[in-house]
Subunit: 420 residues, 2 copies
């Protein structure tokens, strides 16, 4: 803080000190300047550049500006444009087998803005919030910026371990405390790719209902399923009671639109809207999205994405089989952007990191996804004890024809780290 | 809260309860359905629709999407695109007679996002923050959402009354308390249109330096000057020490771009960026702005706006002279969007509101701009005792040829309210 003291602005707030981690999401850091060959990047949870709906967005923005510039360029309100929320209501009513209306939605600055809005509206400093271990680091940071009291609940191949959540919730209740909210990514989880099985969904809902735990259900990836549709959302199973569902256009359209949403019962949406002081997101971009929703483009685009990302997942799975067998195991995600790799004990993670840099391949080390470096807070951690034994590989952003070469480099790096 | 109880999401946070006012900025409410003639609206601090840079933005967005779609549609980082911050650095170095670089800026979701970012980074719940009385209601809401302890400092025709601020700050210090920050709109103030005179700027800086009060300086309107350039910013006089300056593209380009910024010494900017968990604003829109900055369009556009808004101000002043003389007095703002009207004692504000509705003219009543309805908190309030005796008239958004008719309606409504 010496450097801040020289600016005469005074001390940081508690929130700033809690939030002030290095990680601020993809694209936030300085550019990498690798010394070896150009790395093949399996890092960011980003769409494939060739799958971005560029032409459609160019056409839609031009059409909006030609037709309705004043509405697109003035303030658009905090809740977001009615017609886009109408479209979302129709779209999400099919997904969640419900009869939603525009009042069940507010538009946010991506799902990051949605989670911040939920935390600011329903979580006080000092409240206890449960997160999955592992989970999306930016979400952990958002929650920590609101409250320092975070409980980590392990995830396995069937999603979050509800028994472990129950032990934590019941343990807290035993000492007169309550878990205020539980943040979960039940479908095509980031980073593990796992999906919460139906039986656990019911048990999770029952548990949270009994103990008054608000469920914050992040569905960033859930429309990108391969093969069979995933199980019903927690929101739909609960008919909205006690659940706020978060969605985003970042993965099904483009992150650069900064448009996500909260889906909840109308009084909850009203509370979320009343808490915000941000004057909303860009009405120009929301109108472009509405046009592409109404004309059917978004639905067709999602169909294309499912096929394309499934193919990329298969390419990565085949390459892993060819190059990493015996050195690691991995799951077969049924949707989303990620494969979660668990290396054998004889691979040293630090040596691997150095070797991967030299080989020219990047990924995100598993330790980035845990709220605590320390493990074993009274319940079993299936991915513990050494979180750095895991890697998250994103097959989404890399060019498909680079995947075999990139996984080949990863395999060579693993082999070097195993023999180190 | 009965209606929320039925949703099983639990209680609102303290922040939500503090923030949960009805006012959420222009465009946030339901549409008006007036029963009389279509009202002429002097309400919103919005640009004139015919002055929105629609064609330039259409061209710039098309050009960016054609040339650099991937960068424009992926995540762009929390601090905002380097090249736009480079342009801002050059642009603001001229305004503030400094040698700023991109490191002195972070891009935010409008100036609303900038103020929220500043408060979240430097203000804790329970801290005391000073605001002007009157001030911009959304800013008051943002501050109140962070801390309930707000001190109102009166504004007169020469800007905030520094003597009154000094009495408050010294009084707090006498009881071992500190004003953590002071939020001010020193130039073309919203709602009064007044500009802080140079002598008071120096005294304000000296006071805040002595007592460790962070100055948050909102410059939403300050580039839109008529005639002479306004006095130097507090930031420039202090060479950045103890000051964070807030700016926005909303008034000089378009609110719908949702792009504003903080200008501060680089370690302060680093702290602001590290506190955010929102993954930034739309890189597509930031790149369009950068293109229009780099090619000189924005500077030329600001020149056009100065001429156009000065003309509209003059039209409104003439109409006030013709229709409201003897019933009210008003200032002559030297920039910005607003004229502040103070009615004589014999006009009943409630009767005026009803008569204005019938005549078909809208404005914002003065009481909306005060942190407290109660007045006289130990220092003189030049605009007290009856804040509803004031009206804010925006000449910016209304069509210029409707201004005389609208002010004529206002004059008729005042006459009716005076004889009531």
């Amino acid at each position: 803080m010496d450097v801040l003291a020289a600016t005469s602005v005074g001390p940081l707030s508690e929130r700033a000190r809690r939030a002030g981690a290095a990680y601020a999401g993809p694209g936030s850091g300085p550019g990498r300047t690798p010394s070896g060959p150009r790395p093949i990047a399996f890092t960011g949870g980003l769409p494939d550049p060739i799958l971005l709906p560029t032409a459609a967005l160019a056409e839609a923005t031009a059409s909006i500006l030609g037709r309705d510039a004043n509405a697109a360029l003035q303030y658009g309100g905090v809740q977001g444009w009615d017609a886009l929320r109408d479209w979302l209501a129709g779209h999400c009513s099919i997904i969640d087998h419900g009869t939603l209306t525009a009042d069940y939605f507010c538009i946010t600055n991506g799902s990051a803005g949605a989670l911040a809005n939920v935390c600011e509206t329903f979580v006080d400093t000092g409240d206890i919030v449960g997160v999955e271990a592992p989970s999306f680091p930016l979400s952990i940071r958002t929650i920590r910026s609101i409250t320092p009291r975070i409980e980590s609940i392990p995830v396995d191949d069937d999603g979050v371990v509800v028994d472990a959540l129950e032990r934590t919730v019941v343990g807290l209740a035993g000492s007169g405390q309550r878990m205020r909210a539980f943040y979960t990514i039940p479908t095509f989880h980031n980073p593990t790719g796992s999906t919460l099985i139906l039986e656990r969904r019911h048990r999770l809902l029952d548990l949270c209902r009994r103990y008054g735990v608000l469920i914050v259900e992040d569905h960033a990836y859930s429309e990108l399923w391969f093969g069979d549709e995933p199980p019903p959302s927690l929101y739909s199973l609960a008919e909205g009671q006690g659940v706020i569902k978060i969605g985003t256009f970042s993965k099904i359209m483009a992150p650069g639109l900064r448009a996500g949403w909260c889906q909840a019962l109308p009084p909850v949406i009203a509370a979320l809207v009343a808490t915000r002081c941000d004057m909303g997101t860009s009405p120009l971009l929301l109108r472009a999205l509405e046009e592409l929703g109404r004309t059917g483009f978004i639905d067709q685009h999602i169909d294309r994405l499912r096929i394309a990302y499934e193919h990329k997942r298969d390419t990565m799975l085949e390459a892993l089989q060819s190059h990493c067998s015996g050195m690691a195991r991995w799951n077969t995600p049924t949707g989303g952007f990620f494969i979660w790799v668990t290396m054998t004990e004889d691979i040293d993670p630090k040596t691997l990191a150095a070797a991967a840099r030299e080989e020219g391949v990047t990924f995100v080390g598993g330790q980035a996804f845990f709220a605590e470096q320390a493990t074993g807070e009274g319940h079993p951690m299936p991915f513990a004890p050494n979180n750095s034994r895991h890697l998250r590989l994103a097959f989404s952003n890399v060019a498909e024809d680079e995947i075999p070469e990139g996984i080949g480099r990863l395999g060579r790096a693993m082999a070097r780290a195993a023999h180190a």
